[in-house]
């Protein structure tokens, strides 16, 4: 996040003291990051918005535990991963979900400004991965996390994480080259 660290500290401090206006500014500067991660990890557009809301509600509740050792965005990213993974574990949503891959189909042909190209193909391919492979791929290759950190959050062994990454990359190469 490019928000100046000093300004960020002031905002976080004020938000911790209960100032919703400051929390809103933090929300405005980070919602894109949180939403992107929710979207890619869940592979589902509608769910991603719900999860994004959950993350900020949780962030507000847990703000006191943020000690400023890392950037606010880093803290929030970890929180996002936990929220997404616990939602999945709980499997609370039973309703049929529109998958991201399906959502993109009708849209892809109607964007005159920029044709989708490889990156849209990649997003679509990521959305079609099996959940665990998708989580590990997004965290490792998109977010740049280390396996140890992914293992810590997902509760998987490092070797299992690597196996998921291997599988994800293989599936993606297959999908993208077909």
């Amino acid at each position: 996040m490019s928000t100046n660290r000093d300004d960020e500290r002031v905002l976080v401090g004020a938000a911790q003291a209960g100032d919703l206006g400051s929390f809103e500014r933090l929300y405005r500067s980070t919602v894109g990051l949180v939403h992107a991660l929710c979207l890619r990890m869940s592979g589902n557009a509608a769910l991603a918005e719900e999860l994004t809301q959950d993350v900020f509600v949780r962030a507000w509740q847990k703000l006191a535990t943020f000690r400023g050792e890392s950037a606010f965005a880093t803290w929030l990213t970890r929180l996002t991963v936990n929220v997404v993974l616990s939602e999945r574990r709980e499997r609370r949503r039973r309703e049929a979900r529109i998958t991201l891959a399906d959502d993109l189909e009708p849209f892809a042909g109607s964007v005159p400004a920029a044709r989708p190209g490889e990156a849209l193909d990649l997003e679509r391919a990521i959305a079609s991965l099996p959940p665990q492979a998708r989580h590990v791929f997004v965290l490792h290759d998109v977010q740049g996390w280390e396996h140890a950190e992914i293992a810590h959050h997902t509760g998987l062994a490092v070797g299992t994480c690597k196996a998921h990454l291997h599988r994800a990359r293989r599936l993606l190469r297959e999908v993208l080259s077909s």
Partner: protein, 227 residues
């Protein structure tokens, strides 16, 4: 080491997490095996493509009112996902996701659209507060998008460097020339955009050039040996 051994170690090799001994063995095998080199290039290109995806994707509509309602109204405990929504919301979510999923570069476009709209409605526009540093969210996003493009470009150029010995001089010449052509084009358009930040067409042309460069470099990473 045979090809199967290599495939098992390729991810760690590409990620730089392989032991020194294994690293040597993999490098040695890659020297002699064109198909494994191709597999390596594809994994690198995939990782580079993933790394260049936009970091930030704005939701289709403002989620803040719902969040505030949940924070203030203590609705947090009543069902984590709130009430059933009108289907239209799903559609909007879908569009958001799709818009989001478009390349780095098209996020440049949408960002600039937002930036322009902000400029039009003025700084007091509701719900579009600048950050503490006085920078709008849109300009932050734009710089992030550029950062992603530049990171991917750097990574792919590094891959191209490692492939110099296996590509033909003629092909290298073409690739180098065309990298220069696109870089010149990008620089000129960036300059123009700096002079005329409200221009409606420049972002989409910039997008074209970004995409062409990444596309070309990805292709270069996957070219067969002797290419």
């Amino acid at each position: 080491m045979n090809c199967r051994d290599l495939v098992a170690r390729l991810d760690d090799f590409v990620d730089g997490t392989l032991s020194a001994a294994d690293r040597g063995a993999v490098a040695l095998h890659l020297e002699i095996c064109p198909s494994c080199r191709e597999a390596e290039a594809r994994v690198r290109a995939l990782a580079a493509g993933a790394a260049m995806l936009p970091r930030a994707i704005e939701p289709a509509h403002d989620l803040w009112p719902d969040i505030v309602a949940r924070i203030q109204g203590d609705t947090v405990t009543q069902g984590r996902f709130g009430a059933v929504r009108h289907p239209r919301w799903h559609r909007r979510g879908a569009l958001a996701a799709a818009a989001a999923a478009l390349v780095v570069v098209s996020s440049v476009v949408t960002t600039l659209m937002v930036a322009r709209r902000d400029a039009a409605t003025g700084p007091s526009g509701p719900g579009r507060a600048g950050t503490a540093a006085g920078v709008t969210a849109a300009t932050l996003e734009l710089s992030q998008a550029r950062g992603s493009y530049e990171a991917a470009r750097r990574q792919l150029l590094a891959v191209l460097e490692t492939r110099r010995s296996s590509l033909s001089p003629a092909t290298l010449k073409v690739l180098d020339e065309n990298v220069r052509i696109i870089d010149d084009a990008v620089r000129q358009m960036e300059d123009a955009l700096a002079r005329d930040p409200g221009n409606q067409e420049l972002p989409s042309l910039l997008v074209t050039a970004y995409r062409q460069e990444i596309d070309m470099l990805q292709r270069a990473a996957g070219l067969p040996a002797r290419g």
